[in-house]
Symmetry: C2
């Protein structure tokens, strides 16, 4: 459904991105506290009224719009009889390929968080929205009784994905198509670490060696 | 080291708990925004000056002091050659048995979060502190290069633990001693869900059936 988006949809996405970039640029330049919606609108070359057509407030603009699973992806997931983890990863692949990721925006967010780690909580909300969407998908297959299990799984998946996003944002040589595969490899390392009675050897080799060093920073929030 | 705490330590812990209970009671009665450190001090029967000897601000008092691994537990963990997961769970058992958990405080927090879910982020900080401590332990064994893997593992463990805390807080029949074991069972369910190519059946039976229903609420933050 969203795969072939209309010109209007694409323009809307582009404008929301431009507002986000303006918000991030100003927060980096003057500090988060000094930024106003008025200044963001001016920087983006739009009216404040238009700003509020896109975002509720300045923090929403800084976070940007989180991608969400489109109806077609949800329907495919629901109808599939494949393995749960593989189907969830496939849904995430479709989500990312539909969202036309912008590396430079992710880099701005990274730089802002390095300068102002106290802004991390506002980005956690964005990660939580993705986590909740993944949990909702998993519940479709596991049943409502298993919501806590689905949430734990979704927590692990969204964390692995957020980590991989950070690697991708800072590695021009890494393609966006490989994000889900690298996150999936991280989840298999986790599975190994969760094996009881086994002395695990960290499977660093499952993650690209040149990006491994970057994963040693604190968990990054997801950014669309 | 902390296992046999001095009378002074125990008094200090008791006072910090009383201040926390006062803060939670006032937030439940009048709403979080209306609570002041002055009112909390008055409710707890202490001076405002004493309040600030225990907590930086009202939110810190509402969250309470997060438990941390004592030196002896860290030393035992470092020296053990046992399986990583088992050793982490053992360290958590010692942490919880040292922290003299207070169910009624946990219930107050639960009630406050049901009424004001917008306060969740202030509790996330507390959960993150525990997560970071677990990750630091795991890094001692896996090495600094594997910090991202250690953090993913710590994320899963702290989430499972927080979930189990919520079950324990609302189930008078559940002993605090079983918290880590139930969290460990949840982690094995997660491990099953992470198995590639397998159609997982949610292992609801690994979690006490009478508490299963409670796990269907959103992830709860940890509370000491």
């Amino acid at each position: 459904m969203t795969v072939k988006s209309s010109l209007r949809d694409r323009r809307r996405l582009q404008t929301s991105r431009e507002i986000q970039r303006a918000a991030l640029t100003l927060a980096l330049r003057h500090g988060h506290d000094s930024v106003t919606t008025e200044a963001i609108a001016a920087e983006a070359g739009i009216s404040q009224r238009t700003f509020f057509n896109y975002y509720l407030n300045k923090d929403a603009a800084i976070i940007g719009n989180a991608p969400s699973f489109d109806d077609d992806t949800v329907a495919r997931f629901r109808e599939s009889s494949g393995p749960l983890l593989a189907d969830l990863l496939q849904a995430l692949r479709r989500l990312l390929s539909n969202s036309d990721l912008d590396r430079s925006t992710s880099q701005l967010i990274d730089r802002l968080l390095v300068r102002s780690p106290d802004l991390l909580p506002i980005f956690y909300g964005s990660l939580k929205r993705l986590r909740d969407q993944i949990a909702d998908l998993a519940v479709m297959r596991l049943g409502e009784d298993a919501r806590a299990d689905a949430e734990l799984l979704a927590e692990a998946i969204s964390h692995a994905l957020a980590d991989t996003f950070r690697i991708w944002a800072n590695d021009d040589g890494m393609s966006a198509d490989s994000i889900v595969d690298i996150a999936a490899a991280k989840l298999q390392v986790l599975r190994g670490l969760l094996t009881p009675g086994v002395q695990p050897i960290p499977a660093a080799s499952t993650v690209r060696p040149d990006t491994q060093a970057m994963t040693s920073t604190a968990a990054a929030p997801i950014r669309p």
